[in-house]
Symmetry: C2
Subunit: 382 residues, 2 copies
């Protein structure tokens, strides 16, 4: 249930204060929350790019020899508007939800696995828990619409909109009110944590059986690639399953005709609650100047919707890893992003983002700690 938020509360939230009340939030308030956050996003500090690039080029190494680490150091400098970017707090949110489209037999796993995996994550046993522990990343799980109940836990943020989206093969996945509620919930989940303890970089992962079907459909609509090009095997469907999944996506797009220039229209018709939550978290993070690391296919599809909603987020976005799902590449190309790691992973949960966050941290430390030619008395090239 999304917390009630008055106009005053929306203003407070923009200043980083969050007020939670018990009544359900009126739909207009969620719309206002979304609008306020979306409008408050400012581009990164491109004006310091020459100074940041000069600092990188003065480091004791051949020009450009640290490759992508240099790009990340530069990006973090522009995001933080300082030549010594730092990462004090790293966070990762796993948004979870069930999907009505699972009824079409598009996944290799039964839908109940969403809830079972949420419990696994809360208990600390999933891959994303292990990686977050390894890299010192604070993990939070946001129940956006899982068809199961969970006991209270400090890790768990309860924002359940409904027990799974509607089946978008036959109707729109969400009502307009549910869609803005889900996006606002994602914003609030991020901003609440950020207010408690400032987050410098956030990874965004997900859990939701059948959500690659939704993500592939979104990427097909927004980038214009065919459903066939956008669709992969997800958790591992066979050839027959892949053909069925592709047909489901093709028919759904023909049926709903989502407007590729209207992020909320796409999200509502063929999206998912956890995808909406990520959209909200991306926009909220960008609005407070926090770097955003996307994960695999689903997280990237959500990033793509956020990008359609406000392209100013571009400078805050990073791609955590290259998924084996081909649709992801089309979305990355659309946003001009290059993945940071590539371990042939296809798990989601934020696992690729977690690994990438450590590389971004290394890039920041390079920027801050590595000696210049002058500092070290090293000769330059001839």
């Amino acid at each position: 249930m999304v917390a009630h938020r008055s106009d005053k509360a929306t203003e407070n939230m923009q200043r980083g204060e969050v007020i939670i009340a018990d009544e359900p939030t009126p739909p207009d308030d969620n719309r206002r929350t979304c609008d306020a956050i979306i409008r408050s996003i400012r581009p990164i500090a491109k004006e310091i790019q020459p100074a940041a690039q000069r600092k990188i080029d003065e480091k004791t190494k051949p020009l450009g020899a640290l490759g992508q680490l240099e790009d990340l150091a530069l990006q973090m400098s522009l995001i933080q508007k300082r030549l010594d970017p730092v990462i004090n707090r790293k966070a990762l949110f796993v948004f979870a939800s069930d999907h009505g489209i699972a009824a079409e037999g598009v996944s290799a796993y039964p839908a109940k696995v969403t809830g079972e995996m949420v419990k696994n994550i809360i208990a600390g046993g999933a891959a994303i828990n292990v990686l977050c522990r390894h890299y010192g990343i604070d993990i939070r799980l946001v129940d956006m619409g899982v068809n199961a109940d969970f006991e209270d836990n400090p890790l768990l943020l309860k924002e359940k909109i409904r027990r799974g989206t509607r089946n978008f093969a036959v109707e729109e996945a969400m009502t307009p009110a549910e869609c803005t509620a889900a996006a606002a919930a994602g914003m609030n989940a991020f901003l609440r944590e950020h207010t408690l303890n400032s987050i410098d970089i956030v990874g965004l992962g997900e859990m939701g059986i059948a959500n690659t079907t939704s993500a592939s459909a979104i990427i097909s609509v927004v980038t214009g690639i065919s459903a066939r090009q956008a669709t992969g095997r997800g958790t591992g469907v066979d050839d027959k399953g892949l053909a069925r999944k592709t047909t489901v996506i093709e028919k759904a797009i023909q049926f709903h005709h989502p407007d590729p220039r209207d992020g909320f229209d796409v999200l509502r018709k063929i999206g998912g609650y956890e995808i909406a939550g990520i959209v909200g978290a991306v926009l909220a993070a960008a609005s407070v100047g926090c770097a955003v690391v996307l994960d695999g296919l689903i997280s990237t599809a959500a990033g793509l919707i956020a990008f359609v909603i406000n392209p100013e987020i571009e400078g805050y976005l990073m791609s955590g890893h290259r998924s084996v799902e081909a649709g992801q590449q089309a979305a990355l190309t659309h946003m001009g992003l290059e993945p940071i790691v590539d371990h042939r992973m296809r798990l989601g949960e934020g696992t690729g983002a977690a690994m990438a966050i450590s590389a971004v941290e290394a890039a920041c430390r390079i920027m801050c700690e590595m000696a210049s030619f002058d500092d070290a008395g090293v000769s330059k090239n001839e």
Copy 2:
């Protein structure tokens, strides 16, 4: 100066004990050290592969969904002969030396940069220092043959064979005695540290102006690719410099005719002292069951020589990162290795290896800490 080692001492060293004396080591002793280490290498524990694979497949994720992390978890299990591989101590050695071949104008940087960069590393200001601090890796620098003098420092291991190799455009880079002394020094550098505090994974980097010329020549000889295919821009030579470098390599190979089946012959004729040091460290690490992470072009060329000397090391080897130098790929293909990270880096020092070590550590933690379907009560696929 390589420490004197009696036959008794060589036996002790094999048991992990190292005895250091003051007199220079007679060449025969170095040869015996090398032979003993090379003969003591045992293949990894392939017999536990089915059990290790089963454990990985039982984890709460679609089959194979963690991609390369699963391969690394499996490899570490076989190296450590246990289903719960652990990394307690991570170390990285930077082997440094000057090269006579620098006189041929094959580098964009003056030769004195080798010594200057060694001082930078000892002072903690180089990229490799920053990355080792970030990933909690113990760094050691081994002076194998730098044309400069350094003050004592706990980081620095003094194993200087000579102030730079001979110019292999006109004569063999090393004498046979220097070559075995350098390889034995690399073995001893690793084993000494390992004896003090057991090393579970070691990264091997280097510093040495002009050493990409040596590395490309080695890769051309061993893999059979042409000098042109094996040669890249190193620290950044221009088109004219690249053409000159390629010609130098072609002529040197014609002149020396190194035997591609004889690692020491290749090493002696066209190698470098720091390359020989890495060869020794690879062999020594494999002999005590320590995982080895190679770095870029030069480190990989050294790994290739170690592989020629004893192919049993194969199971202990990992490729830290994909270098932008094309020759590296040929060497990796020859050894059947897949790089762990790819950040378009071309710095050397061990920077790619350092980043990869953290991923290997993550893989071990996945193997040890991630829940199985049974542990977590998660349903399997249908």
